[in-house]
């Protein structure tokens, strides 16, 4: 009986979490405009989505920024992690603090401080500034995925390579990078996901002329939720789901390989 109550409780909580999302997805297939009435199955909102130049433009912005930002932050973050790992204790602690600051700062403050920077340096806000902002908040996550892998490595692996005649560059490419590859890939996927998902920071660092999907949804909802937004939300949910499952699958696979 108690067992049943426990299960029942979990089902209720899960319903609370998923019901709104399910409704949203079902609505996206509703032929009618009204949210309340089911007027038959239709893909017309998805069609409209594909035909809307603003949405396609936002899709392009979102994905190119996510790709470029995740590549850039993966390079920056992996190098930084290797550097931080090789540091002595005190500078290492300082660097970790600097890495944790953007992660603990509220998104809105990060966004606003970056906005001030761009206005102050007279860089016009738009695609480029949004990209810079995304690299900024992605990089700490890459560092935090790569560092544990470096810590797992034998302390002397790098020295052993040098000892056997490898130059520092060769040792980096042939010994360090292969050993931390799982961490790098997880970090890159994580950066990509975060970048796809971000609203607050993008909102403050772009201009109304350059919208990503999140900022587009934001400006659309101010006018009331349109059915195309449902379709877009459904698509983004599915995309995120696939990405997350990929990340999860990777991490369980690497932990099982141990």
């Amino acid at each position: 009986m108690i067992k049943f109550l426990k299960r029942f409780y979990l089902v209720i909580v899960l319903l609370f979490l998923y019901l709104p999302i399910a409704v949203l997805i079902i609505q996206s297939f509703n032929a009618g405009v009204s949210r309340a009435k089911w007027e038959g199955f239709s893909l017309k909102w998805y069609q409209e989505l594909l035909q809307s130049p603003t949405i396609m433009e936002a899709l392009y912005v979102t994905f190119t920024i996510a790709i470029i930002a995740s590549i850039a932050s993966t390079i920056l973050g992996t190098l930084a992690a290797i550097g931080i790992h090789a540091m002595s204790r005190r500078p290492q602690a300082a660097m970790m603090t600097m890495t944790n600051i953007p992660m603990t700062m509220p998104d809105i403050v990060t966004g606003i401080s970056l906005m001030l920077l761009f206005i102050f340096t007279r860089v016009e806000r738009g695609y480029f500034t949004m990209l810079l902002a995304h690299i900024t908040f992605d990089t700490p996550y890459v560092i935090l995925s790569v560092l544990p892998k470096l810590r797992e490595m034998n302390r002397h692996s790098y020295e052993a390579a040098l000892d056997l005649g490898a130059t520092p560059g060769y040792a980096l490419r042939r010994v360090i990078l292969p050993s931390v590859r799982p961490g790098i890939i997880t970090g890159a996927l994580l950066a990509f996901t975060l970048s796809l998902d971000d609203f607050t920071i993008s909102y403050f660092t772009t201009s109304p002329l350059v919208q990503n999907l999140s900022t587009l949804i934001y400006s659309e909802t101010r006018k009331g939720v349109k059915p195309t937004m449902n379709a877009l939300s459904a698509l983004m949910f599915v995309a995120l789901l696939i990405l997350l499952l990929a990340v999860n699958y990777r991490s369980t696979k690497t932990s099982e390989a141990k």
């Binding site: 992690a81 090789a86 990089t139 997350l244």
Partner: protein, 330 residues
């Protein structure tokens, strides 16, 4: 005091920073007889300097200066009394603010802050009450579906919070799904949106997974032999929970509270979407001050106050859980 010329300052600071960096770099190369691996973090250090440190200094700079660039504490005074600027203008124009009905202290900003804190506390409390049992049940050893279920709890955490909020709008609107159902059952429409409860609902919905996950982590990492040992020593189920399981899950609870409370205080968009403007919270106030009122100085002061608040509560929570053990998102 002459007005501070920020751009000129900036150039000097930049030159100083660059010079320091070059000297440091040279020293490191000399000391390590070549390029040491620790130098690999240099691009990132530069990046942080430009895109994290400088922006934060800018926020601080604007918070402590007025529109003319003069050092001042005016902005914090304006935070305390939102009518202050108006009063000064009236006085300058030769009117008496009291006669004009503006004598009172404007409490909008402080009220918003208190309201935000209150809402965040409520949200954290509700998340704990709902989330702890959920995490506890999932983490039970004999519950074979546990590991799968926790993934289901995490997935919404990664979903765009705008979408999650939009989903609730669809349900709660005056002609939304719930109201339509009620109407069909002949119960008539109810105003579900545009109040604090709706905002709270939206917040709990958004942040609940952030409570469940760390608590689950702490609980599932616990050695089940500990509770067996407690039972062996004569503790009944309730005592085993209250004396062993619960105290040992405290680090997870602390990190859950952190992960719910922090973003709750700075909640942005949810109050506007579900509360309809009568329920403005601190995040929205900052945004409005910057973008609508176009007052960077007061906006920066507000941001600083918020950051201070966050740091304070972080410090407080760190005291309870010094290792930050509750686990992270990754």
């Amino acid at each position: 005091m002459s007005s501070l010329n920020m751009p000129q300052w900036g150039v000097w600071l930049f030159a100083l920073g660059l010079g320091g960096a070059i000297i440091f770099l040279g020293m490191s190369i000399r000391r390590h007889h070549g390029v040491h691996r620790s130098l690999f973090s240099w691009p990132y250090s530069l990046w942080i300097a430009v895109f994290t440190v400088v922006p934060l200094f800018l926020v601080a700079f604007y918070a402590f200066t007025d529109k003319a660039g003069q050092l001042t504490l005016e902005n914090f005074a304006n935070f305390w009394d939102s009518n202050r600027e108006m009063k000064q203008q009236l006085i300058a124009m030769g009117y008496d603010p009291i006669v004009m009905g503006m004598g009172e202290r404007g409490t909008v900003n402080v009220d918003t802050l208190v309201y935000s804190l209150w809402m965040a506390l409520m949200c954290t409390g509700i998340c704990f009450v709902i989330g702890y049992p959920a995490a506890l049940f999932i983490s039970e050893r004999e519950f074979k579906l546990g590991p799968t279920l926790i993934v289901l709890f995490i997935i919404p955490m990664w979903m765009n919070f705008l979408l999650r909020t939009v989903a609730w709008m669809t349900l709660l609107e005056d002609n939304g799904l719930i109201n339509t159902l009620l109407q069909r059952m002949g119960l008539g429409r109810v105003r579900l949106m545009y109040n604090s409860q709706a905002v709270l609902l939206g917040m709990v919905y958004n942040y609940l997974p952030f409570m469940v996950f760390p608590v689950y982590n702490a609980l599932s990492r616990q050695d089940y032999k500990l509770s067996e040992a407690a039972m062996d020593l004569g503790a009944d189920k309730w005592r085993t929970f209250s004396r062993v399981t619960f105290p040992l899950s405290l680090p997870g609870i602390v990190s859950g509270i952190t992960m719910v409370f922090m973003p709750s205080v700075t909640t942005f968009f949810i109050p506007r979407a579900l509360g309809g403007g009568n329920t403005e919270m601190f995040g929205d106030l900052i945004e409005r001050t910057f973008l609508t009122a176009d007052n960077w100085n007061v906006g920066s002061a507000l941001s600083l106050i918020m950051m201070l608040l966050i740091l304070l509560s972080m410090g407080l929570l760190r005291k309870v859980d010094p290792e930050g053990e509750g686990g992270s998102l990754l």
